[in-house]
């Protein structure tokens, strides 16, 4: 039957055996990491087929994270635009306040299966760091988090949370002192401690099999959204939005929807001070293909191939790279990628807070802000789902500063 075949359509089966999504992806890493990635892929593919692993993952998501998360109708927000109905997929209600914990649980279970005792991770906004510190506390594992010194300042609340949870937070002083530099340092740690250490990457980036693994663990978002849409609206949404930093919440939402080609997908990046200025993080709009952190993907870079510094008010989107599958989806045209500025995102925070009583993370607010551009073109009989990837408590200092300025 036609419908049965859909999941194997031209978007459903990537990546290939070597971790390529079209030309993007791969494993461009030092030789020392090749055996580690082979082991990881072996463990992941075995776990994926193991009902006991799937069962344990599902029950932790249910009992510890609190899934499934609701699909909330945003009535006053919908009224504000007076066009299509808007729903929010409430990842902000996950334990620890963002989607990041879905992936952290999946990877920590793999680490335990592989007998690794020491967990390392990078973090930008601190949500992945908090999620990783949380699952390490839950399982009683050693946890070290690399975080850019700049992000330590702007996401202080999350630093305190990680420390309370028993993690060691190591400040990274190189480069722009943000997410990208934290990943460099985490990779250096992994290279040096490859025997006992498991690196839990927090987004759909890095060498194969990380982008696939992160997608797999985050796909619960899209699967639940499909079920809830069918239940609440009797059909799939017409438009689905998610913010894109490295792209984990977006790919988790998008991937189960890819075969359903009538569902229009939008990934929203950070335009910082504007895509036409040097201060932005809109990799897919303003970058060129290149290799960073183990895979080939769009990349913000100079004419000489040096990595350019990204900029965004949101630490979680402040990254010059993006997951390789998003590069593939961009070039194939299946997903529309756009970018909104710092100012527009901050207005998005205000909009969702005042209309729905939900304070979104600055990352999430980029997707909210895009409604201003998208909603006028929608029809009243359509409906829209926004992935509400996280809550904004961590950003209150930045938001408050903005509210004071005229």
């Amino acid at each position: 039957m036609e419908i049965e075949k859909k999941p194997d359509s031209r978007f459903g089966s990537s990546p290939d055996d070597r971790g390529f999504y079209g030309k993007f992806g791969g494993r461009y890493v030092p030789e020392i990491l090749i055996p580690a990635l082979d082991d990881l892929a072996g463990a992941f593919f075995a776990a994926r087929k193991d009902p006991a692993f799937q069962q344990q993952f599902a029950s932790l998501l249910h009992e510890y994270v609190g899934r499934e998360t609701p699909l909330t109708y945003a009535g006053r927000l919908s009224e504000h635009f007076g066009k299509a109905r808007i729903y929010l997929k409430r990842e902000d209600l996950c334990h620890t306040g963002a989607h990041k914990i879905n992936n952290a649980i999946g990877q920590v279970l793999l680490a335990r299966r592989m007998g690794k005792t020491r967990i390392i991770a990078e973090t930008g906004a601190g949500q992945h760091g908090v999620a990783t510190a949380t699952v390490c506390a839950y399982f009683g594992m050693t946890c070290i988090i690399y975080m850019g010194a700049e992000d330590i300042v702007r996401q202080k609340l999350n630093v305190d949370r990680m420390r309370l949870l028993g993690a060691e937070v190591r400040p990274v002083e190189s480069g722009a002192k943000t997410l990208s530099n934290a990943i460099n340092e985490a990779i250096r740690d992994w290279v040096s401690n490859v025997g006992d250490t498991f690196y839990i990457i927090g987004s759909a980036v890095g060498p194969h099999p990380y982008p696939l693994m992160v997608r797999e663990f985050q796909s619960v978002i899209g699967k639940e959204t499909i079920d809830q849409s069918l239940e609440q609206e009797g059909r799939l949404p017409d438009h689905v939005l998610a913010c894109v930093g490295g792209g984990s919440n977006a790919i988790g939402m998008f991937h189960p929807l890819l075969p359903h080609e009538n569902v229009r997908l939008y990934g929203i990046e950070a335009a910082g001070e504007g895509v036409q200025t040097p201060r932005h993080a809109a990799t897919l709009s303003g970058g060129l293909p290149g290799i960073l952190h183990g895979s080939l993907s769009y990349l913000l870079q100079t004419q000489y191939g040096q990595i350019a510094e990204a900029h965004s008010v949101s630490a979680g989107l402040d990254y010059p790279g993006v997951g390789p599958e998003h590069s593939f989806l961009r070039d194939s045209g299946r997903v529309t990628y756009a970018a909104v500025t710092d100012g527009e995102a901050l207005d998005g925070v205000r909009l969702l807070s005042s209309k729905e009583g939900i304070i979104p993370a600055l990352e999430t607010a980029h997707a909210i802000a895009y409604l201003n551009m998208m909603m006028p073109g929608t029809q009243p009989d359509e409906f829209v789902v926004i992935n509400c990837s996280g809550r904004g408590d961590k950003d209150m200092e930045t938001i408050a500063k903005y509210m004071k300025s005229p």
Binding site: R18, G26, R27, Y28, V29, P30, E31, I32, I34, P35, A36, S174, G175, S180, N181, N184, I187, R188, V191, S192, N193, V194, G195, L288, P289, G290, I291, L292, H293, G294, L299, Q301, Q303, Y304, G305, Q306, I307
Partner: protein, 277 residues
């Protein structure tokens, strides 16, 4: 390849017990206008082979020393074209084998075909791309073949026997044996020499087509002798850059660097320390 390259000839010429010494220097460190003179001094002081680092903003297999040198070079505007110019200058009166070493992204941006063409035209001999292990980028292997640039790959203590054989087959010139699982500049002193011997024996057993140079963590002549006893030679990078960093731009820094290099290779002539017993 029928024509033997400089690297092959270097190893063939070696007959006695003396070890080949390869030095890593970030191109343009500490100052791009001094690189050619510095290289001349390194060669005069006993360097047999030069690894010229192509600086990258995000050197994720490197420790603080090479990160620092890369940053200094980039801040002074070093790029691939200026590195090719340096090689052309060096070649005016030197036949030292030169291996370009650096991360893939600047090479990609330059254009693969253009890069290999220019590398050959400026008369470089080999290339090490630490983030491109064998098998991950077939086009590069083809371009090395086409342009006669020797591809040099790394083996590490956690590399399996069969993978070592694969790396040996994919390499030409020599195989780079990373003595510790870590980033460049990792200091483990005595640890290195004691734990490394079993690993080197495994490398010797599996790497049969190419000579082997051992590197990572070598800071002195004694270190070098201890880890390279069963290899064709050794590689020093971070220790050289740290030394320069300590004296630059003081008086006679180039000459002093030469003295340091001579001691690395031959040991202290005056106060000959016996190697660890």
């Amino acid at each position: 390849m029928s024509n033997k390259g400089r690297i092959q000839r270097l190893f063939e010429k070696r007959t006695g017990p003396e070890k080949i010494m390869s030095l890593f220097l970030t191109a343009g460190y500490p100052d791009p206008s001094e690189t050619v003179e510095l290289v001349r001094e390194l060669e005069a002081s006993g360097a047999d082979l030069l690894e010229l680092g192509m600086p990258f903003s995000d050197p994720l297999a490197d420790g603080p020393t090479i990160q620092y040198a890369s940053k200094v070079a980039l801040e002074q505007g070093v790029n691939l074209d200026s590195i090719f110019d340096m090689i052309v200058e060096i070649r005016k009166n030197s036949q030292i084998p030169i291996v370009l070493m650096g991360y893939i992204n600047p090479v990609l941006r330059y254009g693969l075909e253009a890069f290999f063409y220019k590398a050959k035209a400026s008369d470089a001999d080999g290339i090490i791309l630490p983030d491109v292990p064998p098998g991950e980028f077939p086009e590069i292997e083809d371009l090395c073949q086409k342009h006669g640039i020797d591809p040099i790959h790394l083996v590490a203590p956690n590399t399996s026997d069969s993978r070592m054989q694969e790396i040996d087959r994919a390499s030409r010139g020599f195989v780079y044996c990373v003595s510790v699982t870590g980033v460049t500049g990792t200091r483990e002193g005595d640890e290195v020499s004691r734990s490394v011997s079993g690993f080197i024996q495994r490398v010797r057993k599996n790497v049969t087509r190419n000579p082997v140079l051992v590197g990572f963590g070598i800071r002195s002549h004694a270190d070098a002798m201890a880890v390279s006893s069963e290899t064709d030679g050794f590689i020093v990078g971070s220790a050289l850059i740290d030394y320069i960093r300590g004296i630059y731009p003081g008086p006679d820094w180039v000459k002093k660097t030469g003295d340091f290099v001579r001691e690395l290779k031959y040991g202290s002539q005056i106060r000959q320390e016996s190697p660890r017993m």
